[in-house]
């Protein structure tokens, strides 16, 4: 928890004007921290940070190096690379969760951040889904068919499972996107 309860975005950008612009755009919805170098970014990063906007071309330590250090430390954080070059599949391989082409519009930047925060919620929902399935399996293992049919708790569980299944299925198309697909896998692995 942070002082404001707003999600925390860490902006890593060496050009002050650009960093300030991002901060201005984000300040209404997020708590913004800024860093101008890779070293500063690693210093500013703690458990409260939810999303990092990481410029690829930083003086000294590159965006990639910062990312790899941050992953090594096991931070459960979403990282979007901000880049002027078309990154193609590289960014997925490098371990970024998304990328933003420079210079981004306000809409793009806000959308990317919302999207990354939503991914996290989906991870939680899949966990919840498994917990419910597990519970159902336990019930089925312990009771006879007639007992289950007559059990209100079982009915309720079935309803919860069906509702969550619908919700997850409605969201499935996002997995067509390669960075979403790999990102979804990475989120689970990191947040254990």
């Amino acid at each position: 928890m942070t002082a404001t309860d707003e999600p925390v975005v860490l902006v890593v950008e060496d050009e002050p004007d650009v960093g300030e612009t991002y901060e201005l755009w984000l300040a209404g919805d997020y708590e913004v921290r800024r860093a101008a170098t890779g070293t500063e970014a690693l210093e500013a990063l703690d458990e409260d940070v939810d999303v990092v906007l990481l410029d690829r071309m930083l003086p000294g330590m590159s965006g990639e190096a910062v990312l790899s250090e941050l992953r090594d430390r096991g931070h459960d954080v979403q990282v979007a690379m901000v880049t002027a070059v078309d990154p193609d599949f590289d960014i997925v391989e490098m371990g970024f969760d998304a990328y933003v082409t420079k210079p981004p519009t306000r809409e793009t930047l806000l959308e990317t951040i919302t999207d990354l925060l939503e991914r996290r919620e989906r991870t939680d929902r899949v966990r919840e889904y498994r917990a419910l399935l597990s519970k159902r399996a336990a019930l089925e293992g312990g009771k006879s068919g007639t007992e289950l049919v007559e059990s209100d708790a079982y009915d309720e569980l079935e309803e919860q499972i069906a509702a969550l299944e619908d919700e997850l299925e409605a969201d499935e198309d996002r997995l067509l996107d390669d960075s979403e697909f790999v990102g979804a896998l990475r989120d689970f692995e990191e947040s254990d």
């Binding site: 599949f89 498994r130 293992g141 697909f181």
Partner: protein, 228 residues
């Protein structure tokens, strides 16, 4: 523009031909986006059946994720079943490489360990990206086997991995295939993993006919045991 040009193609097929791999009524073909689990004990030919299902689509692309068999070896196994080497691509996550190199080739993408589930996903994506438009005619994706993945990652992780992979299969209209030995794991874990599949093909030994299969979750097929 964020990540939009990283979108993969959705397959454009009416159904997936299963030939006569499973001589079960109503199972000559299956809808795109279906996830099929082959469930049964050891020595019942689960992997072979999975390869047959992969190979049944002569014009389809195919990817096999294997934590058990070296990529080149699996391609040979596929060739002996299919009568052709292509188009199988393998995501080899055995953690060993028979050539001593972990550099990807056109046909085999290497992942350093069966426990690297993100790496496996990345391997799958590398394959689909290389396939490009040819995916339009159909893509079959097999995980051989879930039981081995469960030895390297806890059931929660394997569940999450599977949820993401089966979700991709369903969204992109691939045909998904996986194998599992239910006797080797906690029944509750087997139950939660199994519920992520649309169709379950159960295999068992049978005295006179060798083995039997029954198909669950496919409305057009009977739920009774049949000789295989």
């Amino acid at each position: 523009m964020s990540s939009e040009d990283l979108s993969s193609r959705r397959v454009q097929v009416e159904d997936y031909d299963l030939d006569d791999v499973l001589p079960v009524e109503g199972l000559a073909a299956i809808d795109p986006g279906t996830n099929v689990l082959i469930s049964g004990g050891r020595m019942l030919g689960k992997d072979r059946l999975a390869l047959e299902l992969l190979a049944a689509g002569a014009d389809d692309q195919a990817i096999a994720v294997t934590p058990d068999t070296a990529g080149s070896r699996l391609r040979e196994d596929f060739a002996s079943v299919a009568g052709r080497l292509d188009p199988l691509r393998v995501v080899d996550c055995t953690g060993a490489s028979d050539s001593g190199s972990f550099d990807d080739t056109d046909d085999v993408k290497y992942v350093t360990s069966p426990g690297d589930l993100t790496g496996i996903g990345m391997g799958i994506v590398k394959c689909t990206r290389e396939m490009g438009e040819s995916v339009d005619d159909g893509l079959r994706l097999a995980v051989l086997s879930l039981s081995t993945l469960l030895r390297y990652s806890d059931p929660d992780r394997v569940f999450n991995f599977l949820h993401t992979v089966t979700g991709r299969v369903s969204a992109a209209d691939y045909l998904g295939i996986a194998t599992l030995d239910p006797g080797a794991h906690d029944p509750q874990d087997v139950n939660t993993l199994t519920s992520q599949f649309d169709v379950v093909v159960e295999l068992r030994e049978a005295d006179e006919v060798g083995r039997e299969a029954r198909v669950l979750g496919h409305h057009e097929s009977p739920r009774t045991w049949q000789p295989l």
